[in-house]
Each structure stands twice: as structure tokens, then as C-alpha cells.
Amino acid sequence: MAIDPRKPPSQLLPRLQRALGGRAGWSGFVLQLLFVAALAWISYEIVANARANLQAQRITAGFGFLANNAGFDVSQSLIPYSGSDPYTRVFVVGLLNTLLVSVIGIFFATVIGFLVALGRLSPNWLLSRISGGYVELIRNLPLLFQILFWYLAVLAALPNPRQSVSIFDAIFLSNRGLVIPKPIGQAGFEPFVVALLVAIVASIVLWRYARRQLYQSGRLIKVWPYALGMIIGLPLLSVLIFGAPVTFEVPVLRGFNFAGGSRLIPEFVALTLALSTYTAAFIAEIVRAGILSVHKGQMEAGSSLGLQRGSVLRLIVIPQALRVILPPLTNQYLNLTKNSSLAVAIGYPDLVSVFAGTTLSQTGQAIEIIGITMGVYLLISLVTSAIMSFYGWRISRSMGG
């Protein structure tokens, strides 16, 4: 007679018990519940108390002020903005300015950081000493000081607009910033963009094909002459057929400043320079540590296969180093974003300056505005680390680890 296998006891309840109560079981669960309840009660009391006190002091509360007119102007805005727009738009203007300086700062910090790290590891004595000197000098001086240095000592020393340095009378550099001709879209603009996109997509397809050929048959196809030809040739063809895609609005000195053209304001330049060079010094050390963490044998093995130093780094060392580099690199990206709030010292209109600064003092609603600002920085940071985590996950998956 067949013996029915005994059913295993249900694991559901004990599992739940362990998950909720930890090692202490159900009593632990009760304690945790009490703790959460206490926390919720305290938060509620804080909010209720704040509301009651604000009301008692007849301080206006709430977010109604956001719909009011701002009534002040901002020196740099990525979206159309005028003084008659509401505070919500000021908020967006400030946020975009913060994001702009952060993204560009992160890009340059990463590039400079990697270059300096490679320079420091280079067998070239002079290069490695210069890179080492850079790191030690930059990372040991306070950031605010560096921002002020770029702004007040370097950029402010440029001549005034009337004596500005000009290149072909089209590009002007002065203490009001860098003014360049502004492209204005014409009839040929759309065909030009389409042609450019087609060329880029075709180049990518070609490159992938060449890579597959290389892996499968070992046949090396030179892709870049074709790609270059397409990327230059196709848009050129479009220009010949459909006419010029843009005309340029050349800046002219009118009154105190340049009229027309696009301008890079010195506040932006100083802040980006300071943030990217400062953060680059830290990134350089992180990258160096990451590369050194890869076993020397890997490098030697690569060399013995006949690969050049650059290829060894690119194909073997850096992919492995990235796993070590990514978490602290994310920290640096977050730091750079948060440090961008030092903009207020040099009058760059970032979120803290225009929203937690001017808007706050015009409306006096400190609690709401500081709350929103903190929430936004938190969100930016969380999104940044989520992106970096995803990137790290992809790397470790592609390496099978």
C-alpha cells in the first residue's frame, strides 16, 4: 500500500511572524506596531501644533501663494519667463537652472575625474605628478571659496562689454559673459534634422553590424570613414536641396549690453567650473581606487594577448572597476547637485536662490517653501541614485555577477 507523503506544515504563519516581529516573534511585532503608532502620533501632533500656532499668530499658511504673481525678474531662464508669471513658474525656472548646472557639472566632473585618475596611474612621471597635485590642491580647498575665486577673481577680471574680446565680431567675451550668435530655424531646418538623424541611426546600425562581424568571424571592418561621410554628407545634401537650416542672429553692442545672440552668464560659468573641478578631484580618487582594485594579473593577461594599454583599460579593467566605482560615484553626483545650492553666493538663479530666497522673503511663507525645496532636493537625489543603481544592476548582470 502506498504511503501518502505527509504534507509539509504550512510555512506561512511562522514566516509572517518572523518577518514582522523579528527574532522576538509576536511580542516583537506588537512593540514595533506601538513604535510606529507613536511615531505617527508625534508627526500628527507636530503638524497640528504648527497649524494651530500659525493660526494663532495670524501667519498666513497654505499653498495659495503659489498662484500669485511673482513680480520680479530672473537673469537666466530656460523657459519663457516674465515678472507677471506666478510663483509656480519661478519654481520651475529655479528647478531647471539647478538641474542644468547639476547635469552639466556631473558630465564635466566625470570626464575630468576619469582623465585625472588615468593620468595619476600613468607611467609618465610628469603627468602622474600633475594629476596628483590637482587632486590634492582642489579637494583640500573649501568649495565656496573656489566658487568665489572663479567668479570674483577670474571672470570678473574680464573686460567690460565695450572692450570685450571678440572673435570675428560674432563671439564676444566680457565680464557679462560669453555671447555667441543665436541660431534661428529656417525652412531647411526640418529636412536638416531628419537627414542628421538618419545618418546617426545608419551609423549605429553599421557599427553594430561591424561588431558582430568582428566577434563572429574576426573580420575587422573600419566603420568610421563611412559614418563620418554619412553624418557630414547627408545633412550637406539637405542644405543643398532645401536651403540653410538656420540663420544666425549676431549679437551687437547696444547701450550697456549686447543685444541678440545667446549668452552664457558668468554666474553659470563660475558655478559649473567650480562644481565640476571640485567634484572631479574626488571622482579621480574614486576611479583610481576602483582601477587599483582590479587585480594586476588582469592587466598583464590583457597585455599578453597583445592588446594595447588603452584597450586593456577600456575592455578589461574599467568594466570590472565600475562595480567598485559606482556607489561612491553616485555619492559624488548627489553631492554636486546639493552643492549647487551655493549658487546663492554669486547670484546664480538656482532653486534655493529664486524660490527659497526671493520667493520666501516676498511671501514670508517659510515653512511651505522650505518644505517644498527640501522635497525637491530629496526627489532629485532619489532619482539620481535610482538611475545609478539601475546602471550598476545592468553592469553586474552583463558581467554575470
Binding site: 500656532n53 501667519i59 537673469s75 557679462r176 547670484g347 516676498q362 514670508g364
Partner: protein
């Protein structure tokens, strides 16, 4: 970031301090033995520390007068330097008892901040400071100029209104402190520095060569500057209000730092009421009968304080103008002390 964290702390304190608003400020100040007075971070003529750390200025004198009226000792004050941005939060949170920091009286500030203005210490207006070398004679010639301004003030909105109203373009660069603003103006980043005219005169003293800069004649706004106290404490409101009116009234009555001892013996009825030899006006305020004598002895009357700090006796050399007594062509006017 330090500035932001200060705002956060103060805002949190404002929200959480249970009785900050309804507290009896006068009693609190007496118990503490010290007046806490919010001032600027250094504006010559209004509130600035000298090399020994002594605060002087017209705004400072208001606080000194309050301390003198309460303690008969004008030195029992803790001065709290505040940026334009942090000032209201410091008052709301109870960190300071009175804000005497060249603050413009506007309707929205009077209603939405949980605070009240007690009077006008200085009738000001917004103007423009430019380099003489630009050869600009009027603010209407400032089209396309770059303008440096301190953030957290009514100045930014006035500026936008003025340029828009006159169909002129401009670029605004806003800095957190007055020093940063002046530095940027001096370095040539801006063509113009705009602020209250009194402040322009004061800041002009800080630049390398004051004679090369000129204040343009246009005054584009009304900026009545005055002290503020928290909502909900009428007695304290009266004390601060009548300290200022007392100083103006003393000038009207001819009471000065020099002649105050003789004035006490005066037999003119209005003077007797003011110095407290007749009636108990001071006690009605919650102070002593000789409150105004104490004030005049400590800082002098309004005119004396004005001349010493911003007028002919100071480096600023600002004319009395609007700030003269109503009987002498100005608009400073105190309700009768009776």
C-alpha cells in the same frame, strides 16, 4: 547652506513654540533683563558694529531707546544681525523681541507675517547708484543695463515694475547679502546697484573710490522703514510705537540730550506731561513715569539721533528732507503725548 538651515530652524521654532505669540513680551523682557533686537548685518548709519563691536545707527537707537525706557540702561540689549531673508522668521519664532532693521512697511508684510509695523523711523525710496564714468544722468537712460540687487527685499519687485513701466530691458543679478551685491557692482558685473537711497549712500562708503559713483536723482518707490513686533501683544506694540513717537515728540517739544535735566524742571504743561512730573503716562504704557527722560538721556530726540547717525554729523551726510518734522517741511509727526 548655513543660511537655509537657519531659516529651517527658525521656521520650525516659529511653528512649535507654544506661546511665542500671546506671551507678554514686556514682562518676558523685564524678567530676562535684556532686550533682544534684530538688526542688519552691517548697514552704516542704520545698524552697524564698530571696530569694538558696539552697534550704532538709527535703527540701533530705537532699540537702545526701548531698553533705556524699560531698564534705564541702554546697554541691556542683545543685537541679533539678520539677513533680509531671515528677519521675519526670527521675529515670528520669538528669537527677537523687536525687528529694527530698515524694513519697508507694506500691506502684505503687515498682514501675512503675523507681525505689525509700529511706525516709520525713516522715509526712504528706491534709487540707483552708477559709476560716474558711464555718464548717465537719469534712470530713464538705463535701458539694457545689468542691475545688481540684494535678494529678499521689496527692491526686486520695484525694479521689475519700473523697467517694465518705462519699456526698458534690463538684466537682474540678485545676491544674498549687501556685501556680495556691492562687490559684484564694484567688479563691473553690473552697471547699476539699486537699493533704498539711504542704503546707496551707506554702501557707497564701502567701495574703493566713493567719489567715482553717483546716486541718480530718480526715486522710484516709497520705502517707509520701521520697526516690527509680533501680532497679538498690544502692550508691547504700544511700548515700541511710543518709543519712536516719544523721540519725535521730544524733538517737537525741544527736549534734547543736553537740556533734558532743565526740561524736567520745566513748568510748561505739555513738557510736564512728557517728562512725567504731571500725570502717569509712562505707567499707562507699563513703563515708569520718567520713560521719555530715560530715552532722551540715552539716545537723544529723533532729530539728534538722525543727525548723529545718517545726517550732517555722520559720514553719510543725508539731508533731513522728508524725515524732518512736519512743522519744518517734513512728514515726521507724532500723535500728542497726553
Amino acid at each position: 547652506m548655513k543660511r537655509v538651515s537657519l531659516v529651517v530652524t527658525l521656521a520650525a521654532a516659529a511653528a512649535l513654540s507654544a506661546q511665542a505669540a500671546s506671551a507678554q513680551t514686556l514682562k518676558t523682557v523685564k524678567d530676562r533683563g535684556m532686550l533682544s533686537c534684530g538688526v542688519s548685518q552691517g548697514l552704516p548709519g542704520f545698524s552697524s558694529p564698530d571696530d569694538k563691536g558696539n552697534w550704532t545707527g538709527l535703527d540701533v537707537d530705537i532699540c537702545r531707546a526701548i531698553a533705556a525706557a524699560i531698564f534705564n540702561d541702554a546697554s541691556k540689549i542683545k543685537f541679533v544681525p539678520l539677513s533680509a531673508k531671515d528677519r521675519f522668521t526670527a521675529l515670528q519664532s520669538g528669537e527677537i523681541d523687536v525687528l529694527s532693521r530698515n524694513t519697508t512697511w507694506t500691506l502684505s508684510r503687515d498682514t501675512s507675517l503675523g507681525a505689525n509695523f509700529t511706525g516709520v523711523t525713516y522715509y526712504d525710496g528706491q534709487g540707483f547708484l552708477v559709476k560716474k564714468s558711464l555718464k548717465v544722468n537719469s534712470a530713464l537712460e538705463l535701458n539694457s543695463a545689468s542691475v545688481c540687487v540684494q535678494t529678499g527685499t521689496t527692491t526686486e519687485q520695484n525694479l521689475a515694475d519700473y523697467f517694465k513701466g518705462n519699456n526698458m530691458k534690463y538684466e537682474v543679478i540678485a545676491f544674498a547679502t549687501a556685501d556680495e551685491t556691492v562687490k559684484a557692482y564694484e567688479s563691473g558685473r553690473c552697471d547699476v546697484f539699486t537699493s533704498d537711497v539711504s542704503q546707496l549712500y551707506a554702501e557707497r562708503l564701502k567701495v574703493a573710490n566713493p567719489a567715482e559713483h553717483v546716486v541718480l536723482p530718480e526715486v522710484i518707490s516709497k520705502e517707509p522703514l520701521g520697526p516690527m513686533v509680533r501680532h497679538g501683544d498690544d502692550q508691547w506694540f504700544d511700548v515700541v510705537k511710543w518709543t519712536l513717537y516719544g523721540m519725535v515728540g521730544a524733538e517737537e517739544l525741544g527736549m534734547t540730550q543736553k537740556n533734558i535735566d532743565e526740561m524736567v524742571k520745566s513748568d510748561k504743561p505739555e513738557v510736564k506731561r512728557a517728562v512725567g512730573t504731571d500725570g502717569n503716562l509712562g505707567e499707562q504704557l507699563g513703563l515708569t513715569k520718567d520713560w521719555l527722560v530715560r530715552i532722551v538721556k540715552a539716545v537723544g530726540n529723533y532729530g539728534e539721533s538722525f543727525e548723529r547717525n545718517v545726517g550732517s554729523g555722520s559720514k553719510l551726510g543725508i539731508a533731513r528732507g522728508l524725515n524732518n518734522l512736519w512743522s519744518k517741511g517734513g512728514i515726521q509727526y507724532a500723535p500728542p503725548i497726553r
